[in-house]
Symmetry: C2
Subunit: 356 residues, 2 copies
């Protein structure tokens, strides 16, 4: 049984802890937090050992009537692997905390790539992280693109990818973020940082990315163009992608037009927090013009990296024979790729509106 | 002096009327409307002769205490050219109204292309409309793309264009439209109707477009990729585009990050209704990778087609020697390309954020 500590219990950390808890080969060694906010009460309610990570130690927790099990250093000592889910840029300041205790550590995509030996995506480059001391699970958007590019690269070859990432302004709880009633080129410079980040996973890929921010909180939406090296039919591409456990091809028959209905669907299906761990690709959008493939996909920024963190834990600890075995085990335990209808038939074409 | 009637006094019609009024060679023959809403009071206040266009004739206007000058048929009789600005799909039902009176007519981009002899953009194909009986001014988005593609095609050649159009959900007054807190692939099918619509102006252009809708009301935002047939530098492209009167290259120094600040800028500058008639291209976004050009542009859906309608009036009436002469006259009278700082210097590169 692998003892996994989680440093940070916010958007990603609480989801990683819950995902560790349901794995047959892992247990939660503890979770570390700085402040006794609502998420601390959730940690207590879940029965996780709570460790104090802030400068004031356990004082703020005691003041709030919350019992801690020690400091974050104690948690690291008790862990076989630590998953650092602290805010972007904070993770690297924790690197010595893990290294000094010889504890393998996983960082998140908000850190720069040089925080770890390898930038990780389970489907694309699991083997590069096997036995490493540190790995960085790439960001939600890079994870979403890596899962898509891996099978396309293997089956058809990729000449060049061009992606526009229409990003949510903030998560539902990030009330201080914007924009309101505006679409921002963000960053204005091209390429956005996403293209170079994808190249930390696919070093030889030709890719240009453009980023925007819009007043939504639910999911990112990508408009994807991939110029392939061969010329499959759209149906062949749908079959290829539909066979991937972490890609959900939304059938036209479901009547799902955006992130709102997607997340209502996963709430209806009983997913914890309504999480969408899979890339959600609109099946009817999958189009091939010559060697140019186009599609739309939505990425749940709070959730898609969670199964990747679980696989990264296994890779670092060398406990699993292969990427396929880890992915299958993670997916079965969490329910990834389950409970949602998969692509069933060729969709009919509907007429678009033409007023703008 | 050309007598121009405007059928429809909504978002586009009221702007076209005001633009006709300031032209040295045109006068407003009248405006026609169905209902006595707030815009009818504006028409009266402006001193435009108001003609009743609805099934109940002038009855609703009399009930509201507004005097009319007759019916829409009377207005058409009194006009040398009519600009039809009724809602998308309504225009074609008015075609006989104009044809029966031998009055040249201009339709808007919400109509299907076969409503008129030619789909029109002043910069791209003015001459095709000279002396025609009917023309269709293409939609706001198609206008924005045509203005951009014309100089690129002439100077560098276009191998293929790929555009993602992140569209505003509705205009500020369209309170019944959405989405709220969602990004919709719209249409989900690829290509969206915009690509084929651009081909009504550039029949031989290779173009694929993808459409989305987001919860904003101010402007559309395009992420544009054009694979050119030659390989200019980004600076050369900026110089080329900056020389076009209907393209505004936003200098980085202005600190304009989106549509909100853009429209605040034009309100500050004293533009009527804060209108942005020009494509607004972020100068720092203009990037060339090999033969791939990338840029972001914002399009004010309520305003960019207005100067094009004025030019279309001149083309149909054969009163002007050339496209250049009409465009210059329109721009001078309205103030298009004036009062806004043009691109001045090579922008510095800023760092993007990397948290998603």
């Amino acid at each position: 049984m692998l003892h996994v500590g989680i440093n940070g219990f916010g958007t990603i950390g609480k989801r990683v802890a819950d995902a560790v808890r349901v794995q047959p080969d892992m247990t939660v060694a503890g979770v570390a937090k700085r402040s006794p906010n609502f998420e601390a009460t959730i940690a207590v309610d879940r029965g996780y050992d709570l460790f104090a990570a802030g400068q004031d130690g356990d004082e703020p927790f005691h003041a709030a009537g919350i019992t801690t099990a020690g400091t974050v250093g104690d948690m690291v000592e008790a862990s076989d692997v630590v998953v650092d889910t602290t805010p972007g840029g904070v993770g690297e300041t924790n690197a010595d905390l893990y290294a000094d205790r010889d504890t393998p550590a996983i960082f998140q995509g908000g850190e720069s790539a040089d925080v770890a030996e390898v930038s990780f995506n389970a489907r694309a480059n699991y083997d590069t992280a096997v036995g490493a001391d540190t790995a960085r699970v790439v960001s939600c958007n890079t994870t979403g693109l890596s899962r898509l590019f891996a099978p396309l690269q293997e089956s058809y070859g990729i000449e060049k990818a061009r992606v526009t990432l229409v990003r949510r302004g903030g998560d539902p709880g990030q009330t201080g973020r914007g924009p309101i009633n505006d679409t921002l080129p963000d960053p204005v410079e091209i390429p956005s940082h996403h293209g170079p980040d994808v190249k930390t996973v696919f070093p030889d890929l030709a890719i240009d990315t453009m980023g925007m921010k819009v007043p939504t909180t639910q999911m990112h939406t990508h408009s994807v163009n991939v110029t392939l090296e061969s010329e499959p039919t759209a149906a062949e591409v749908r079959d290829l992608l539909g066979a991937e456990s972490r890609l959900f091809l939304i059938p036209e028959t479901l009547g799902i037009d955006g992130a709102g209905k997607l997340k209502e669907y996963t709430r209806d299906a009983g997913r914890p927090r309504g999480d969408v761990w899979e890339n959600c690709i609109w099946a009817e959008s999958v189009t091939v013009e010559g060697r140019d493939l186009y599609l739309f996909q939505a990425i749940h920024q709070e959730a898609d990296v969670v199964p990747e963190n679980i696989d990264a834990v296994r890779a670092l600890s060398e406990r699993t024979a292969s990427a396929e075995q880890s992915i299958q085990r993670t997916d079965e335990a969490m329910g990834v790729g389950q409970g949602l209808v998969q692509h069933e038939s060729e969709p009919a074409r509907a007429e678009g509106t033409a007023d703008d």
